[in-house]
Every structure is written in C-alpha cells, then in structure tokens.
C-alpha cells in the first residue's frame, strides 16, 4: 500500500487508531479521577522502552510489561491502605521514570533519542507499529465493550456494584491492563510524558455535548481524531514534535467546548 509507505500518513493512521481507543477508555479515567494513575503508568513507559532495547523485543511489549508491574504494585499498595494513594502514585511515577533514564544512560551501546520518546516522533511509526496499534486497539475496544456496564456500575459506586454481584476486583484489574495497553500503543505518537493527555483532554472537551456515557466516549474519540489530524498536520508543516502539537490541538477543542457561553 502506497499510503503506508509515507511516514506522515503512517503517523496519521496510527494516531487515529490510538485516538479511537483513547476516547472510550479515557472516559473512565476522567470519571474515576484516575488521571494521576494514568500519568504514573505512562512515566513507567520509559523504563519499558529501556527494557525493550535491552532485551531487544518490541518496545510496546516492554512498555506494556512494565506498566502491568506498576499496576500490580499499585493494586498491592491500595489494598494495604497504609499510605495515601497519591503518595504511592508519586513514588512509583518518579521511581520508574528515574530508573528508565538511568537504564538508558547506562546502555552506552544503544543510541536513543530521548526527546523522541518523551514527546513523540512522527518519524518513528513503522508498519509493524501500525499492526500493533490496530490489532491491539481492536482487542482493547472489545474488552472495554464487554466491561462497559460493570465498569460504569463501579464508577457510580463501587460498594453498590459489589453488593449487586459485580466482580469488582477482576473488572478493575482488567481496566488497569487496558490502560497499560493503550499507553504502550500511543507512546510513539504522543510521547511518554504526554500520553495521558489523549485519554483526558478529548473526553473533557466532549462532556459538554454528551447526555449519555456512550455519547461522551464517542465524542472523545472524534475530538481525539480531529486533534491528531490537526496536530500532525502542524507537526509536518512547521516541524514540531508530534506529541505537543496533538496536545495543543486537543486543548484548543477543550477550551472551545468549555469556554463557549452555555445555552440554558
């Protein structure tokens, strides 16, 4: 396919795929006030990248694996209830980021463009990445579709859901896996430091126009796609890093949606 030979279009197609997945998943991140958790898992991605290089496996695999470990640690600490959640998140977030940077600087035999991983690089998307994004994205959406209702019930009230026979622990753990997966998939386009923005900003822009949870998910996906299109276009034109360009586009939608006068 000709179009896939062009790095720009590969990035656009990859970014659209990521945005479609990030919309519905991002809704729950926002509804459940988990953006800091998303950040923590995203920061651990650098360690995943380092591991990927070290073990010479696909970087997404490394990122996914490390994010799962972070999710497990979080799960463990949450159940302990000794430490406040944000202290645990802050610790894990910085620990994994620091370990990632250390590991990369110790691996003198590989040359890694740190900026590209931290802030995204449209040159970096390969054909294999596209397969991962669309294959993985399909599974993420399918799983989320199956978890949609129990997740919504848990978001409304966890204990009520539990009392009404929703398997809370299992559903929450699967949800964490989905976040880990979407971080792994979108890392190359958006960059590690900005990856959660695609989960949070488009759905926050879509809230204004949504009357149901599903509308908000769909709106988030559409606004995310538009942001990717705009951002990557700008990135190509004026040679800016892809991640920040996409984020700024999304933020423009966010302000447009939330600052427009409310019609009663």
């Amino acid at each position: 396919m000709m179009i896939l030979d062009d790095f720009f279009w590969r990035a656009v197609i990859a970014g659209m795929g990521v945005a479609i997945v990030a919309g519905p998943l991002g809704c729950f991140v926002v509804w459940r006030r988990m953006s800091y958790l998303g950040d923590t898992m995203a920061h651990s991605a650098l360690l995943g990248v380092a591991l990927g290089f070290f073990l010479e496996v696909n970087l997404m695999l490394g990122v996914f694996a490390v994010a799962i470990v972070v999710a497990l640690l979080l799960f463990f600490f949450q159940r302990q209830k000794q430490l406040a959640n944000d202290a645990v998140l802050g610790t894990l977030s910085h620990a994994s980021l620091a370990m990632g940077v250390l590991m990369i600087s110790l691996m003198v035999w590989v040359r890694i463009d740190l900026m590209a991983y931290l802030f995204g690089d449209i040159l970096a998307v390969s054909l294999v990445d596209l397969y991962w994004i669309y294959g993985g994205g399909f599974f993420i959406l399918l799983t989320l579709f199956l978890l949609w209702r129990p997740l919504l019930a848990i978001t409304f009230d966890q204990e009520l859901a539990q009392a009404e026979d929703v398997p809370v622990v299992r559903v929450e753990f699967l949800f964490m896996l989905l976040i880990a997966a979407v971080i792994a998939l979108s890392m190359k386009i958006i960059g590690i430091l900005l990856v959660t923005s695609l989960l949070i900003i488009p759905v926050s822009a879509a809230r204004r126009f949504s009357r149901t949870p599903e509308q908000m998910a769909l709106g988030g996906a559409l606004i995310g796609m538009a942001s990717v299109g705009l951002g990557l276009g700008a990135s190509l034109q004026i040679d800016t890093p892809s991640g920040p360009s996409i984020v700024i586009s999304a933020v423009m939608f966010f302000f447009a949606a939330n600052l427009l006068p409310q019609k009663k």
């Binding site: 926002v30 809230r207 149901t212």
Partner: protein, 264 residues
Amino acid sequence: MSSNRETAANYSRTEENNQILLQTRDLSLVTGGRELLTDITLTVSAGEIVTVIGPNGTGKTTLLRVLLGLIPPNAGSIFKKAKLRIGYLPQKVNVDPILPLSVSRIMKLTGNYSSRQIKIALEETGVASLREKPIYQLSGGEFQRVMLARTLLRSPELLVLDEPVQGVDYMGESELYKLIANLRTSHGCGVLMVSHDLHVVMASTDRVLCLNQHICCEGQPEDVSRHPEYLRMFGLDSGSALAVYSHHHDHTHHISGTLKEDSQ
C-alpha cells in the same frame, strides 16, 4: 405518620412475618489494630424495620458493609436466608457532573429492567417525573428516592439503607421514613437501616440498636430512648432525655400505644 404506624401494626397482625432474614452472632472486626466492631449479635426478620443508631464514627456503615459481605469479619458468624435478595442504598455515591448519567440509566446499571418496571419503581417512590433528568441535578431528597426505587427493582426481601435521609431537609426526612415504612408494608420486606439522627427515625422503626463499636442497648424505640447507655452516648442527661421522650411521645402517642399491645 399515624395511619402509617397503624398499617404497620395491621401488617404484623395479618402476616406471617417472623421469618429470619439475617442473623449474626458475636461478629467482630479489627482493622489495622483498631477494633471497629465487637461481638455484634443481631437479627432482622421479614417485615420489621430495624434501625442502627449511633454518633458518627461508631461503626454503623462498617457494620452494614460486613453484613453485605463487602468486608470479611475477623470473628463471628453471619447467617443469611438462602438466596436472600438485598436492595442496598449506600451512603456516598459518585454524582459528579462529569459523569452524564440519567435517572433511568442508573436504574439499570447492573440489571436489565424494562422501562415499564423502571417507571413503576419510580412511581412507588414518587419520582417518576424525574426519569430522564441527569442525576447531578437532583435534590438530596429526590436522589435518595431514586436510589430507593433502584433497590425495589431487585424485588428485595431485605432493604439495607445507609443513612437514607442524608442531604434531605427536615420535612423531607419524616416523609422519607414514612415512605420506607410503606415500602416495607407493600413489599413485605425487612428493613435494616443506619441513622445518626435520634428523633425522626424513632417514629417509624420497630426496633433500635444503639451501636458504639458494640451494641450498647437495643429494644423498642420508646425503651431505648430512656436507656442510660443511649443517653450517655448522645450526651443527654435524663432531664433532656425526658424532653426528647415527651416530644417524641407527643407525635406518636396513641399509635405507639396500639403498637405496644399488638407486637408483644
């Protein structure tokens, strides 16, 4: 309120309502070295309203959580009637405006109910007109009525209500308690509720348990409100207790008389 109390009395005369729904023996819970519940022994039978009262932080909500199976106790036993259908109204629910949920949507969060079933349930609690409203626009009283209607969809044998009148104004409070007593009669279910208020709840309950980590006294509302443990717990001296009692008595005078004859 008076007619309500009479129906309750009639009900207990005409129905076979001594079937035990829930019973605990010497239930204890220790968390993080702190004893939260000590030797709780209680019984809830079909058709009766049992209210657990006590100041904040005395373990009322914790007790409900243990009874619902959300927290495993450290010692003691819980007996539940086989396949007991419980309708639960939790204390704190996520009604964040970021989550676009309508009333009819939260009715079917964990079950498939027809719009006719939903309408009937909402009618029973007097809020059918709010069906399509977003939940974050409801007043405290409206919201609690919606949540009560939600419990009815499960055709409950036991209603477990955690602070059902929270966020409800004083006039609304007694209305809501009246509604709960009516639901008990029309559905023939037992009710176990938790409350930190003293007077209003007394009027529409059959039995009161005073909880202060352990059950410090229990019995009929009239007896409990004169019990020294109860008075000490709420910081009342016997003088003001008399005032409380006579105030209470003023409202339910002739009916509480009838009830006493019937139910003993």
